[in-house]
């Protein structure tokens, strides 16, 4: 199910990315145009991409959108894959993957054209709202149960139920009506957004921008901070408190930004005398998409960091492997090119031979070198990059060997033990108390 959900998010993102690429490069646009008029079953997809290309954002905005979406998508999938049994990680994964697709400005361009050029793809509209609904509910739930999986305080469980009730209602209504659910109605009314057409795109973005601010800037931080502060004061142990602190900081920052943004927008529109309903965010509607996702990104980042800090995956191992295989790749690539060059020279001078032999010979050399070089790099890095771990393993092995080989007296054992600890950990001082006779 999570795979399907992620695939839907990825599909929406790729539609937007296709439009951006087509807008940026006439050659790519031409390829998509050829595909759009072809008889392929994917022709409607290419038609949407081609028609929405003129609506694309500036390249800088597209880059920002996709960097943020990439981070959200990557971290979300990573969490779910690494912690499939952890409910909080799964919720956060759902939230991050949904956010990646539903709050990407460029990915919204497809909605403006889909009904006109490819009505058979209208399903992407309800899918978009489903991603909104699921990610919103999952975010709220994750914040209320982080980090131990229980809703704290327990009476806030009604909020979780309400979130999931709204989620179900949004999903059902969007599929039944083919439009949007109840939560979107106020925004529709507010911005006069009706139906999906190129003209309606700015209104859709106004609507989504307001939703971003209200949800990520007000609702989530208020509910999350209430829960996390209560948890911090009344429930958490010291380790949980340390993790909660990070999340509360992130929520406070997001709430401050969201609330300030709304106040400034409302104040400026009132001062200008514009109608409140129509210009809630004034000129700042697009800024909501441009700036706020960066700031609101601190919530998932804080949750992710708080989970990672608990050694839910072994960062040392990841770094170690990266170092080993990165260096190995560089060494083997150099070896490959050097051996191709040398073999070419040798073969040419001996038999005027073809280059293919040189390439085959170089590949053989690389194959033979792979394991010995990997072992050697691993040893060197273990000694240098992870010196203490390496030292500890060696000291422990030496200590065990000495116990096996010698008959141990208590005093000698004490000396060895202290020497081993000192060599590895180097404490400023240490002591050893030993029972000098059998406790029996």
């Amino acid at each position: 199910m999570f795979g399907l959900y992620t695939a839907a998010a990825l599909f929406l993102l790729l539609l937007g990315l296709g439009s951006a690429l087509a807008a940026a490069s006439p050659a790519i646009l031409e390829v998509f145009q050829d595909a759009a008029v072809g008889g392929s079953r994917f022709a409607p997809v290419w038609r949407v991409i081609v028609q929405s290309a003129p609506l694309s954002e500036a390249p800088g905005q597209v880059l920002l959108d996709y960097v943020l979406s990439g981070v959200n998508l990557g971290l979300g999938v990573f969490l779910v894959l690494r912690r499939p049994q952890d409910g909080v990680a799964r919720l956060l994964g759902l939230a991050m993957v949904g956010t990646a697709a539903s709050f990407n400005l460029q990915a919204h361009t497809a909605f403006a054209t889909v009904d006109t050029v490819a009505p058979e793809l209208h399903a992407i509209v309800p899918i978009h709202w489903v991603l909104h609904a699921v990610s919103g509910a999952a975010y709220l739930h994750a914040l209320l149960v982080f980090p131990n999986g229980r809703v704290v305080p327990a009476r806030l469980v009604w909020l979780v139920r309400l979130a999931y009730l709204s989620m179900v209602e949004e999903i059902l209504l969007t599929f039944v009506t083919g439009s949007v659910g109840l939560l979107a109605v106020p925004f529709q009314l507010l911005f006069g957004f009706q139906g999906f057409s190129p003209d309606a795109l700015p209104k859709l973005i106004d609507s989504d921008a307001t939703f971003v601010v209200v949800f990520f800037g007000v609702l989530l931080p208020v509910a999350g901070t209430t829960s996390q502060v209560y948890r911090y004061l009344a429930v958490s142990d010291p380790n949980e408190r340390e993790r909660t602190r990070l999340v509360v900081w992130a929520l406070t920052l997001a709430f401050g930004v969201g609330a300030s943004f709304l106040l400034v927008a409302i104040g400026s529109t009132l001062v200008r005398g514009a109608g409140f309903a129509e210009h809630l965010l004034g000129e700042a509607d697009f800024a909501a998409f441009r700036v706020l996702p960066l700031l609101f990104g601190v919530i998932p980042a804080a949750l992710f960091l708080a989970i990672v800090r608990d050694r839910l995956f072994d960062i040392d191992l990841v770094i170690g492997r990266t170092l080993v295989y990165g260096t190995l790749t560089a060494v083997l690539a150099l070896t490959f090119f050097a051996s191709v060059f040398l073999l070419q020279q040798v073969l040419r001078s001996l038999i005027g031979g073809p280059n293919e032999f040189a390439v085959a010979g170089a590949a053989l050399v690389n194959g033979l070198l792979f394991q010995p070089v990997r072992r050697r790099i691993q040893q060197v890095l273990d000694r240098r990059a992870q010196r203490r771990t390496y030292q500890a393993a060696r000291a422990l092995a030496a200590f065990q060997r000495s116990l096996r080989e010698d008959e141990v007296e208590l005093e000698a054992l004490a000396e060895r033990l202290l020497a081993t600890v000192r060599d590895v950990l180097r404490p400023a001082r240490m002591g050893l108390w030993l029972r000098d006779r059998d406790p029996e």
Binding site: A428, G431, L432, L434, P439
Partner: protein, 147 residues
């Protein structure tokens, strides 16, 4: 009842405190001078002060129940030994427990280079303590056999 220092017959025994301050300076000097680090000198067993732990000490019972490294400020026992340990700059206690019996206690101050002990350090100490505890128990049994 608490034993007098090094009063072996009383049943509970030795404590050693060795200062390692300055070890990093020697190594740094060796590195700067292009020399290999000096071989580790024999442990300095200058006894700074004796720790006596009575057979009915609550600390013993605690460690037999919780045989793992313990940060010193985490001790919440109103016992003379715990108070002594807290007062002498001990930051980490590593019990040597085998077959449910405490046979020794390793105490460590802060790392000489600053910072704190990592999870890997604690894992190392735990493994080392397990090995040492079993060896100490054997040594005690052998000593008893010899009379």
């Amino acid at each position: 009842m608490y034993c007098a220092p090094l009063e072996w017959g009383c049943g509970y025994g030795i404590v050693t405190q060795s200062s390692l301050r300055g070890a990093w300076l020697r190594d740094l000097w060796a590195t700067l001078a292009g020399r290999p680090h000096s071989p580790v000198p024999a442990p300095n067993f200058t006894t700074l002060k004796q720790l006596e732990i009575a057979p009915d000490e609550r600390l013993i019972g605690y460690f037999e129940q919780h045989p793992g490294p313990l940060v010193a400020h985490g001790i919440d026992l109103a016992s003379p030994a715990a108070l002594y340990l807290a007062a002498t700059g001990v930051s980490l206690l590593v019990p040597l427990v085998t077959q449910g019996r405490l046979v020794g206690l390793l105490t460590l101050g802060e790392p000489a280079g600053g910072g704190s002990y990592s999870r890997d350090d604690l894992a190392f100490l735990t493994t080392l303590a397990d090995e040492a505890a079993a060896a100490a128990r054997i040594a005690q049994l052998l000593a008893r056999q010899r009379g």
